[in-house]
Subunit: 363 residues, 2 copies
Amino acid sequence: MNAAPTVYDVAERSGVSIATVSRVYRSPDSVRAATRERVLAAARELGYVPSGNARGLASRSTGVLGLCFPDYSDPDTVGAEDDDAAMLYSDQIIRGMERAARRHGYALLIAASLEGGPENLVAKVAGRVDGFAVLARTVPTEELEVISRRRPVVMLAGPRAQDPSLDHLDHVEVANEDGQYQLTRHLLDDHGLRRLAYVGLADDSPDVEARFRGFRRACREAGVETGDEPALRMPMMTQAEGAHAADLLCGGAGERPEAFVFANDQMAVGALQALERRGLRVPDDIVVTGFDGIPLSRLVRPALTTVRQPMVRLGEKAVELLVRRLTGEREAEPVSLMLPVGVARRASCGCADEETTTGFTDL
Amino acid sequence: MNAAPTVYDVAERSGVSIATVSRVYRSPDSVRAATRERVLAAARELGYVPSGNARGLASRSTGVLGLCFPDYSDPDTVGAEDDDAAMLYSDQIIRGMERAARRHGYALLIAASLEGGPENLVAKVAGRVDGFAVLARTVPTEELEVISRRRPVVMLAGPRAQDPSLDHLDHVEVANEDGQYQLTRHLLDDHGLRRLAYVGLADDSPDVEARFRGFRRACREAGVETGDEPALRMPMMTQAEGAHAADLLCGGAGERPEAFVFANDQMAVGALQALERRGLRVPDDIVVTGFDGIPLSRLVRPALTTVRQPMVRLGEKAVELLVRRLTGEREAEPVSLMLPVGVARRASCGCADEETTTGFTDL
DNA sequence: ATGAAAGCGCTAACAG
DNA sequence: CTGTTAGCGCTTTCAT
């Protein structure tokens, strides 16, 4: 790979000016066909690849959108049983964003956040894109504040504005609270259950907390007693922990709950396995529900009743908001979308497959 | 977003030269702590975000690796039952590449290929990265040839060099032939099956053809008769088609096969459902196997015997090869890796869970 | 440890 | 339709 050819080389070789070479790539129609072919031929012979950097510098835009998400990966989780499921979340957002970005002519730059410092990946991403999306709590607030002064940023998931310095950002989330509420009402009203055990997350997560609020509200409205805290909080919400949680809740003193309401599907799937080992039948002996609607949830036996998050659409919406800021409406009022979720009533709560949509939207 | 501040603004505001501002970001230690803080403070106040473009242009490198993959998405497949599974393939490569790229300090730029023309996404990607991976048959050969003269390119999957003009590219594939061979031998030798029906793909795909070759070789060596062609070739290898294939093979004249050997997991899963509907028991009445090792394969009932492709590792390897070219060994001999696959012997062939690894590697 | 100056390769007016 | 001419914002010697 010796010195890469530039517009000058191509221009010289095809006997035109650099401006014409540039035109051939930017607006082919503005160049006479014969000339264009000469240029293209020269480019091919030379192995010319236009420099995105030079282009971006001169045109002040990159044609790239970005996504920053947290680094989920356990350092050496190689076998990766849970791993597959664990990353589905960001995988789906990536898929949605890539698809939507492509429709709008953008490519997608992705990076999981690393540690801080002035030279971290987030800063790098920010400098190379026209706008980007951030999964909540991935990037330090202060840094995001600085960046968002220069580039459109949309916040994904999490609460509207954890920090007032960020309230000018567009924002997309899913109806966590409402979804969990609806699911819980279903258990309460349609199945007549009363003793529900909620299994949440140890760390503070806005999404998971919203789900728990939905659970509590449903219980309260149905006159069912609930503590201020989930029955259990697990550290990572993995499948293994779900199994563990099921064991704890079954083995504990007092009456066994009638239903385990898990804050995500992975735990619920783990619980299903643990209960099977114990010889307990779902849903006859005990009802189990999840949250997320990962593909696996439909495939386990019994199929898992859960709340389906439209993660792919989340990604698509993010791109739409970015594109909107990038084209014209740069100064529009910040938008906050809440994507509706679907309650999938499946076998693990004793239903045949049914699904209803819930939640509300702006825009 | 008025005029974005540049090094000049930051320099002026902090009373240093632009060179110092640059140093603060590139090599913080080469600047006195007090100076550095002044610069960083000014940057923060101004909302300074270094331009990746200007940086890349000046330093001749982007710190970004790329991936181009085919556009799988059916335009309006919204419900997306199969969609989830269909994209798992590229999703996993993305995951593997992102992870490995991050370890090496790179971000990842992804784009599904669009149509041609001098200004397509592939060209765009090529111009914005230090090197990139291409899923076989995503990019026109000629275009790839031109680009690969200027940037390291690694070819993923597919055969070594479909085109001799591309034989200087690094290449990573999985042991398709050997994996299918081992799986088939298992059916033949350990389960004593004799009448196997192979279900492949209508379109010509190097990977799928390699699998079929493995199947044939196994049969031949075991003295089992096989035609030159699969029993069936389906157009898309979706779940629905798998179900359809099962129906065809059951309903057909002549003896029903003892085993359905599918070229991928999705079809096998579909077949499982179709067979259940027909009241046929797997593996007692009929054995079913897949290929890929998607997460679903472990979760269906009965769990699917299959060949596990290490897609995440494929992505990781791709990054390793790129990084190698990018650091020193630019002129090294082209490498061709074949990643070993694992035969997962599960319930759908009558085994308890077992797994063996097969295939060979270079490097 | 810091500054000065020369590009990096391209786009974008503006002429012609 | 095509050429000329300025930068775009940063890194990078080379001095100091």
